[in-house]
């Protein structure tokens, strides 16, 4: 057991946890932030993507205890003052989601893409999202959403 302090969506939380608790489990089970999803057990699907210190990571590949002191943003923390983040708004406008299961990971991953590349091409968007699987949308409207968000941010 280990005590960890994280800043999650702007709030400090301190918990005593098992050393081997995955960040994804920590977020879902200890903090009840169930917007972060778990879609696989081999770190392939990207449903669990969150930001740790501003960078997108698959939260199922990290141990919560290993990132003591970090700032974590989950999908719940993306919008400010009830205003949708431009990426969230663009996903809605372009029908970039169907069942919504991959969506939190897709959005968190796409936000990080724009942090790295303000104006990505279609090919660059598709390549960046290679680590996020969506079974519903065929990706086309996700690409359209990311392009729109790039224009609006």
């Amino acid at each position: 057991m280990k005590s960890v302090t994280l800043e999650v969506n702007g709030k400090k939380v301190t918990k005593t946890i098992e050393d081997h608790l995955l960040l994804s489990s920590f977020i879902r089970e200890q903090l009840n932030l169930t917007g972060t999803h778990v879609g696989c057990d081999t770190s392939q699907c990207g449903a669990c993507v969150v930001h740790v210190d501003g960078k997108s990571v698959k939260s199922c590949t990290l141990l919560a205890a290993d990132i003591d002191g970090s700032a974590v943003t989950t999908i719940e923390g993306l919008s400010t003052n009830g205003e949708l983040h431009p990426m969230q708004a663009a996903f809605k406008k372009h029908h970039g989601l169907q069942c919504g299961f991959c969506t939190p990971g897709m959005i968190m991953s796409s936000v990080d893409l724009l942090n790295n590349n303000k104006n990505p091409s279609d090919a660059e968007i598709r390549e960046w999202l290679e680590g996020n699987i969506c079974r519903c949308t065929g990706y086309q409207n996700i690409v359209a959403a990311v392009k729109e968000a790039a224009q609006n941010s």
Binding site: C45, G100, G138
Partner: protein
């Protein structure tokens, strides 16, 4: 506003919760005092269970209970069922093995359910599971589809592992067509086994209240009412009126969540038994092993053709793999959902199809996006190409020569096709795809050292499943109507209840558009309720592209009843007669006058019939208070979406990598309610179909181990696998439902595999099976070069 709602690209009302992380999927639910379940699954494809020793595990920390097949027997929990009876051609009924939710004497595939450990935490359940000692006597597994009939029988009493040997069509007439044919074209095909892979893994939570005797099951289902019916009536877990099934937000289904699984039955049963909530969430590896798979056909087909290119007959023999047991829709998928469509959208006067369905020691196979129709389309579209090529005819022209052109068209097999215009969508697709410019593009690719091919797929599907009297006469265990309730509240807003279930399809938006259009009430005042057996009327769920055609029609019918009652009330209030009242854009108007009442006023009057201050709203004699109508809609026919898809691929000869570089399609889905949502459905279907053609394959080794049981081994299509799809529509409204809609959910997955494969074969000039992976393409190109050298 009213009529503009149909055909309008309304943004989805359900999106906000999903993009902000506020969706509520089954795994997100935590109940007070819940326990955790972990299933012990068979590591063997086929084995006798000699003994299950749970004594050590029971004593492990945190364990609440462990249930095995013996408990299932003791508590008389019934087996899982196959819901559609197929009769073999010799008149005998299909043969099915028993399918207990927890096996007690034999396991029949890797992942089969042996026991469940229930503990205070998931970790404790998992640790205790390690201590359960199952003594197996391993038997030889039957794995291969083609050779299953000649392998050792898996089940006593099921000869040759044969579930049924079924036929459809006029055999004699078909033989005659072949006897007279100028040319007979032969083709052997494999339709590869797929894993549906909805991104949300299955999950179930059971909760029992012993003081009220209420049992609730939260589960990842496309079909909560049917789940309740089956678990109640067949598994005998709990009576239907005291049993509630809730399917909250569900993260995709594609067929794999239509039916209750062993885990659902066991979780409901266990919660009742221990009197505490039990939660189970599937891990992805277990999803690969135990979700029902799709497809898995081996087929030989022959086409009889006249020398002028007119097709006169089709003869098909298919072996369909059912896996280890008969799953709920497993038997209808390779029969009535498949065989009637083997003739596609062509006017073929004679056809015959024989289907042998076999059991193997693999995961059960059931309906997966398209269910039978992709297999039929793959067959006919591949053999049409083969025929055109053999006869030296243009593949597009050859198709056009054989299209059905007059409607209604009675096929030689089953269906009476009400409407369509196949030339219209094919011509439009050829233009969209710039077929004329293909030769130039091919030359450009060749200049870069690449091979380029083009492939067509012109398809038809039978959707809007289905007229109850028809399906029940051919073995269905249930009717396939749909229900709706439109409930006005006194303040004028509306709750709409549907028996369909949305798990990505956007019903909350599309169905509200229908109601807004019919009743002239703004979308914001309409709420759609689904997925909870305690809320709406019994319904049949979502699959087979049926929700809009059948469920939407039920809603439309309920709205008609509301308007009807509204007219009677309005007539009374306006001192007129109901047949003098017109209803338009939310207002009841006395014809040729300016006397009118809004539908909101009528709703208010219905709930507050009498005098209330200024308002006088007496109801006419004999009219009950309230404004709420229920409708059950049973379609008079299937609907028949069709379309033309054109795929272009470019192949790197050095690596064998195939890239889909252009994909154009024109579909006829009848009337479109929300084109934006329809496009999304097409995109998703295309991704799955292209996935089947180029990447995906569920592969069992000869001992029955699933080699492709994770995303590292099973190739899921990713964003960078696809070009931008070009999508357009034509429209011939369906005549079989009041909305004129045909269904769009499965089209992409049905049409695209043959479009892609015809393009690949066009590029490499030799036959190849799905999935056309880079390795297979590379091998095929090597073999071709070698045999060309030998010939020279």
């Amino acid at each position: 506003m009213a009529s503009s709602m149909i055909g309008s690209r309304v943004e989805r009302t359900e999106d906000k919760k999903f993009i902000t992380g506020k969706g509520r999927y089954t795994a997100d639910i935590t109940l007070h005092g819940q326990t955790y379940a972990f299933f012990i699954r068979s590591p063997h494809a086929r084995a006798k269970i000699k003994k299950v020793d749970i004594s050590k595990a029971l004593a492990a920390p945190g364990v609440v209970t462990i249930l095995t097949g013996q408990d299932i027997i003791k508590d008389k929990i019934g087996g899982l069922i196959a819901g559609w009876k197929i009769v073999s051609k010799d008149g005998t009924d299909m043969k099915l093995p028993a399918h207990p939710p927890l096996a007690h004497d034999q396991v029949n595939y890797v992942g089969d359910h042996v026991a469940v450990v229930i503990a205070e935490s998931l970790e404790e359940a998992r640790n205790a599971a390690e201590l359960v000692n199952v003594d197996y006597k391993v038997l030889t597994a039957v794995v291969n589809t083609a050779s299953a009939m000649t392998s050792e029988a898996i089940y006593e009493g099921i000869d040759k592992n044969l579930c049924f040997d079924w036929e459809l069509g006029d055999k004699a007439k078909t033989e005659e067509a072949f006897a007279k044919a100028d040319r007979i074209v032969h083709l052997k095909l494999n339709n590869n086994r797929l894993v549906p892979n909805a991104m949300e893994p299955r999950a179930s939570i059971g909760e029992y209240n012993s003081s009220t005797d209420d049992l609730t099951l939260y589960t990842t289902s496309q079909n909560p009412h049917l789940t309740r019916l089956v678990i109640s009536a067949f598994n005998g877990v709990h009576p239907e009126h005291k049993f509630r099934v809730v399917a909250p937000d569900v993260g995709g289904g594609f067929g794999s969540k239509i039916y209750p699984y062993a885990e659902d039955v066991v979780i409901a049963y266990a919660a009742k038994k221990i009197g505490r909530p039990v939660k189970w969430v599937c891990e992805r590896t277990d999803s690969f092993l135990s979700d029902c798979h799709g497809r898995d056909h081996v087929t030989e087909a022959e086409l009889a053709v006249r020398k002028d290119g007119i097709v006169t007959g089709l003869r098909v023999n298919t072996i369909a793999n059912l896996g280890g047991y008969g799953s709920l829709f497993a038997t209808v998928t390779p029969t009535y959902l498949y065989a009637p469509l083997i003739v596609g959208l062509y006017n073929i006067p004679a056809a015959y199809c024989n289907v042998k369905a076999v059991f193997t020691n693999t995961a059960p196979v059931d309906a997966y996006r398209g269910a039978g129709r992709p297999e039929a389309t793959y067959l006919i579209e591949r053999i049409m190409d083969q025929a055109a090529n053999e006869m030296g005819m243009d593949r597009a022209e050859f198709r056009k020569k054989n299209f059905i052109t007059a409607f209604p068209h009675q096929q030689c097999l089953v269906h009476n096709i009400d409407s369509g215009d196949y030339h219209a969508h094919f011509n439009k697709a050829l233009e969209l795809a710039d077929y004329k410019g293909f030769a130039k593009r091919k030359a450009d690719s060749a200049a870069k050292g690449k091979l380029r091919g083009i492939g067509f797929s012109t398809y038809i599907e039978a959707c809007g499943i289905a007229p109850s009297s028809v399906v029940m006469s051919i073995g269905a265990g249930v009717g396939l109507w749909e229900s709706a309730e439109v409930r006005f509240n006194a303040t004028g807003n509306i709750s709409v209840f549907t028996g369909a279930h949305s798990h990505g399809q956007g019903h909350a938006t599309t169905f509200a558009q229908i109601v807004a259009d019919k009743l002239g009430v703004p979308m914001a005042n309409i709420d759609l309720v689904h997925g909870d057996t305690d809320k709406g009327p019994f319904g049949m769920g979502t699959y087979g592209s049926r929700s809009l055609a059948v469920g939407g029609s039920a809603i439309s019918k309920a709205c008609d009843k509301i308007i009807d009652k509204g007219k009677r009330v309005a007539a009374h209030m306006l001192e007129s007669t109901p047949d003098e009242i017109d209803f338009k854009d939310g207002e009841f108007i006395v014809r040729n006058s300016n006397k009118k009442k809004t539908i909101g006023e009528i709703a208010f009057a219905c709930y507050l019939p009498g005098t209330y201050g200024e308002i006088k709203s007496p109801l006419p004699a004999g009219v009950e208070p309230g404004l709420k109508e229920t409708a059950f809609y049973d379609p008079i026919n299937f609907s028949f979406p069709s379309g033309s898809h054109v795929c272009e691929v470019e192949i790197d000869q050095d690596t064998g990598v195939t890239k889909v570089v252009k994909y154009s399609c024109v579909d006829d889905f009848g009337t479109l309610i929300n084109p934006m949502i329809v496009e999304g459905q097409v995109h998703g279907g295309l991704a799955q179909g292209i996935g089947q053609a180029l990447y995906e394959n569920a592969y069992y080794d000869e001992t029955g181990q699933l080699v492709t049981a994770s995303y590292m081994d099973y190739a899921m299509p990713r964003a960078d696998h696809f070009p931008e799809f070009k999508i357009e529509y034509t429209c011939t409204p369906a005549t079989s439902n009041p909305l004129g809609v045909k269904g769009c959910g499965e089209a992409g997955a049905i049409a695209s595999p043959p479009a892609v494969m015809n393009a690949v074969i066009d590029a490499i000039g030799t036959d190849i099976s799905m999935p056309a992976t880079s390795e297979k393409v590379w091998q095929a190109l090597r073999t071709k070069v070698k045999s060309a050298k030998k010939a020279a």
